[in-house]
């Protein structure tokens, strides 16, 4: 498999310059600027086309859409149609959704400047005709001489109309040029034309007569004025978020105020003026009163507007103050976090130049922050750190992934070591604008780990040695026990042969000694057997299973049938809850305890032996016992009970090796259990034992070793606690 499978290939992250003002930049209004432009342009195009049709086919009614007003001239109508079409085409071509219509329109985008420049040219020729006082017959091209007006220049567009057409045509043609200056120029031209049309419109409303001379047509037809106004506004609205238009369209206090005040002024002031004119002419008040009234109304309107402006600005300020306060608080917190942390924190732009660093950075690099800011990795870090940091830095930029690594500040030396996290800092749209790094000093921890590691090794070594020593000791004991058996067999064998083959030569006393020799050999054989058993229960792993304690107790009892020959022994095996342990070793426990019970009841006419559990319902944590009515023992000596080779009875009274109970204790210890005894001399003995619960993990070999080296003690239920079980008094109750 190739290291980079195509399907897994990640796109490299997008990098961007870090721009601290990006977050503060206000957005754009969602008002339908372009929609207005399209509607206005459509209205003008349709109107122009209608008028043009009227001229071509001589339908006079169509040339003046408002009856009683002057006609829209043919050339004006043509120019307006061209401009309207150009605006529509441009709007379609620059539409955001690139559907079929938009794609087709963008193929004809080159038509926009041609259309608009043609309109400008019409205006230019007209102005030239006025200026040079010539007539090229240009004005009659469409309408023909059969036109309605017989007067000179009756068909020529008015001079302001021609000027407006030049301004609008050039403005639209500028669209092909890019840049803020070009856009401002375009908007300036369109705005000038709009003002001109606005002026003409007001002239119509106030019915003002401006006559500069018979040769000069200065009056723009009402419909033409409206159309020019619409085209001017449409051009301004086609690129609403560029150039000067940002002032109006931006989503901030200024934009809001502009959007409200401008229409209010443009509509309000003419209304006041119109009121004054109408009032005066109707004789409601005289000129002076009209002027005063107008001033009062304008002042009132201006006051209201200024007050609104003030409220708006105050609200903006408050908003701003609140934002600033929140930002300050966040800034304060972030600063506090960065400065208060012992970890070094730094951020760099995508070129590696340091943007910020905290006090810890200063302490680690040893150079003042002010000097390091703006410096690259190479310039601001100790040289030995540069390769590692550059590698991580580049990895973050290439993959966008966070890198966490341990860095030895001085290569090859543990002291000091830091754990460094290098991560991408993203802007609102997921571009990487900076790379952050946080590095914490973990030298202390590293040193601790080293110590722990060393101690662990030491411990491991010592455990191995202890294990070897114990295994050696076990093997030694095993071998010794075996080797002891060989001479024993010889003693037994030869004494038997002596007895059998030389019976005649040996007298009564000799035979007695021979008996003693053979009896001693038998005892020694038993001792060796017990020692081997003791050795065996300490070796090897335990096989934990669920054990039916009643069954193994009965099996152990049956093995002891020979003990009951010629005696009256009553063995009762009660209810025994099952246990979790090694079945063979638990069998040894019962065999040993029952064997002892048989042995120490030998003098009783009726021996009573009971096997049971104190709390059968306790399940795995039950306490088992083996009780007899035998000779018992003095509790003062109970400590010696479980020590190998310690016996509480005189040699000869009760045969036994003293290893049996030690073996039992060993088995129980390996089960994490315990054993204790309660006895009254002459009345009997009860041996209690407990096993580990199932939820406690069984002793592993290592645990066993640990247990051998240090005896842990375990408290026993207080109601069962015999003097033997009291801590400090005995060695087995753990």
């Amino acid at each position: 498999m190739s290291p980079i499978a195509p399907s897994n290939e990640r796109l490299p992250p997008v990098l961007a310059e870090f721009d601290p003002l990006a977050a503060d930049r206000p957005g754009e209004t969602k008002l339908p600027w372009r929609g207005f432009a399209v509607v206005a342009a459509t209205v003008v195009t349709v109107l122009g086309a209608v008028v043009l049709t009227g001229w071509i086919f001589g339908v006079e009614q169509l040339t003046r859409p408002l009856s009683g007003t002057s006609t829209m001239k043919a050339n004006t109508a043509l120019a307006l149609t061209l401009l309207g079409a150009a605006i529509l085409l441009e709007g379609l071509a620059t539409a955001r959704s690139k559907d079929g219509a938009a794609r087709r329109a963008s193929r004809f985008a080159w038509l926009v400047p041609i259309l608009s420049l043609t309109a400008a040219a019409i205006g230019l020729v007209t102005v030239f005709e006025y200026a040079a006082a010539v007539d090229f017959g240009f004005d009659d091209l469409i309408a023909g001489s059969s036109g309605a007006g017989a007067a000179t220049h009756a068909l020529r567009p008015a001079l302001p109309t021609a000027v407006a057409l030049i301004l609008l045509g050039s403005a639209l043609a500028i669209d092909r040029l890019n840049g803020t200056t070009a856009m401002r120029a375009r908007q300036l031209l369109a705005f000038a034309a709009t003002c001109l049309a606005y002026f003409a419109l007001l002239g119509h409303i106030f019915q003002a007569e401006i006559v500069l001379g018979a040769e000069l047509r200065t009056s723009i037809a009402l419909v033409t004025a409206v159309c020019l106004l619409l085209i001017g506004l449409a051009i301004l609205c086609t690129r609403p978020f560029e150039g000067w238009m940002r002032i109006v369209t931006i989503e901030n206090v200024g934009g809001k105020v502009t959007r409200r005040l401008m229409p209010a002024v443009a509509l309000g002031l003419p209304l006041i003026a119109l009121g004054r004119v109408l009032g005066t002419s109707a004789g409601l008040f005289d000129e002076r009163f009209g002027a005063a009234l107008a001033v009062v109304l304008v002042t009132l309107g201006a006051s209201v507007a200024v007050a609104r402006l003030a409220v708006e600005m105050n609200r903006g300020h408050e908003q701003c103050d609140l934002t600033m306060a929140r930002r300050n608080q966040t800034q304060l917190l972030l600063n506090g976090l960065a400065e208060g942390s012992s970890a070094m924190i730094a951020a760099r732009d995508v070129h590696g130049r340091l943007l910020m660093a905290n006090g810890a950075f200063e302490r680690w690099t040893g150079s003042p922050r002010e000097q390091a800011l703006g410096k690259t990795l190479r310039e601001s870090l100790p040289p030995e750190l540069v390769p590692r940091r550059e590698h991580s830095f580049n990895h973050v930029l290439e993959t966008g992934e966070t890198v966490v690594e341990e860095v030895q500040v001085r290569p090859g030396e543990i002291v000091p070591t830091v754990v460094a996290e290098t991560f991408p800092v993203l802007d609102g749209v997921g571009r990487i604008v900076a790379v952050g790094a946080i590095a914490a000093d973990i030298t202390e921890r590293r040193l601790h780990e080293q110590t722990v590691e060393r101690l662990n090794k030491q411990l491991e070594h010592e455990t191995t040695r202890a294990r070897e020593a114990i295994a050696e000791l076990e093997a030694f004991g095993h071998t010794v026990s075996h080797d002891l058996r060989s001479p024993l067999r010889a003693i037994d064998g030869f004494s038997q042969v002596l007895e059998a083959e030389y019976a005649v030569a040996i007298d009564q006393r000799g035979r007695h000694f021979l008996d003693r020799i053979r009896s001693a050999a038998r005892d020694m054989n038993g001792l060796i057997g017990d020692l081997l058993e003791y050795s065996r229960v300490g070796r090897g792993e335990l096989e934990f299973t669920h054990v039916d304690m009643a069954t193994i107790a009965r099996a152990a009892n049956e093995k002891l049938a020979y003990e009951r020959e010629g005696r009256d022994v009553r063995v009762t095996i009660g209810e025994l809850p099952p246990a979790f342990g090694d079945e063979r070793l638990l069998g040894v426990v019962f065999t040993q305890l029952l064997s002892n019970a048989h042995k120490y009841t030998r003098e009783r006419a009726v021996a009573e032996i009971t096997v049971g559990a104190i709390d059968p319902a306790a399940g795995l944590s039950a306490t088992y016992f083996v009780r007899d009515n035998g000779v018992g023992f003095d509790m003062r000596y109970s400590e010696k009970l479980f020590q190998a080779f310690e016996k509480l009875h005189h040699e000869g009274t009760y045969e036994g090796t003293g290893v049996g109970l030690a073996t039992v204790q060993r088995v129980l210890r390996r089960h994490d259990g315990c054993i204790w005894a309660q006895s009254v001399p002459g009345e009997g003995t009860t041996m209690y034992f407990q096993l580990a619960r199932e939820d406690q993990p069984p002793l592993s070999w290592a645990d066993h070793l640990a247990e051998v080296s240090s005896m842990r003690r375990r408290a026993v239920d207080s109601d069962l606690q015999s003097p033997v079980a009291q801590p400090g008094q005995n060695e087995f109750a753990k």
Binding site: H482, R485, S486, R489, F494
Partner: protein, 148 residues
């Protein structure tokens, strides 16, 4: 056929040898037994070398009774030698030892032993055991063709 070579007892302990001989004697087969004091001697016996040069070419014993704990070449090493040698590997070998060590038992069977018997502690039991071995290996069991 020379009956005296029927059993090879490999045993280093003088006491054990004497007791074993007493037991063999009680079963009337003392004459059938040859004793090797260690592994080397046993190999000499089987290959007709050294002290047993006169046995060169003689048939194999019908059974070898082998102690494990011996000086120099111990019983298990000897067992390995016997079972590795084409000429001797068919001879039935019974380990007769005081060791009940599970590892010894396992190793012996791994090496191809034909029986593993632990020596009882008492002499009378030992005599009974020898009787059993005699009955099985010399009377019941069919020996390999090149045996005595």
């Amino acid at each position: 056929m020379d009956e005296s070579d029927s059993i090879l007892l490999v045993e280093d302990n003088a006491d054990d040898i004497e007791l074993a001989m007493l037991a063999f004697k009680r079963h009337g087969i003392a004459d059938c037994v040859n004793v090797a004091l260690d592994g080397g001697e046993a190999l000499d016996f089987l290959r007709g070398r050294g002290r047993f040069a006169d046995r060169a070419g003689a048939p194999n014993p019908r059974v070898i009774l082998l102690d494990i704990k011996m000086p120099l070449v111990n019983g298990l090493e000897l067992l390995r030698e016997i079972k590795a040698d084409q000429r001797t590997r068919k001879i039935p070998v019974v380990v007769l030892t005081s060791s009940r060590d599970e590892r010894d038992v396992e190793t012996a069977y791994d090496l191809g032993v034909n029986g593993y018997v632990a020596k009882p502690a008492g002499f009378s039991e030992f005599v009974d055991l020898i009787g059993l071995l005699k009955r099985y290996w010399l009377e019941v069991n069919e020996s390999p063709p090149d045996s005595v």
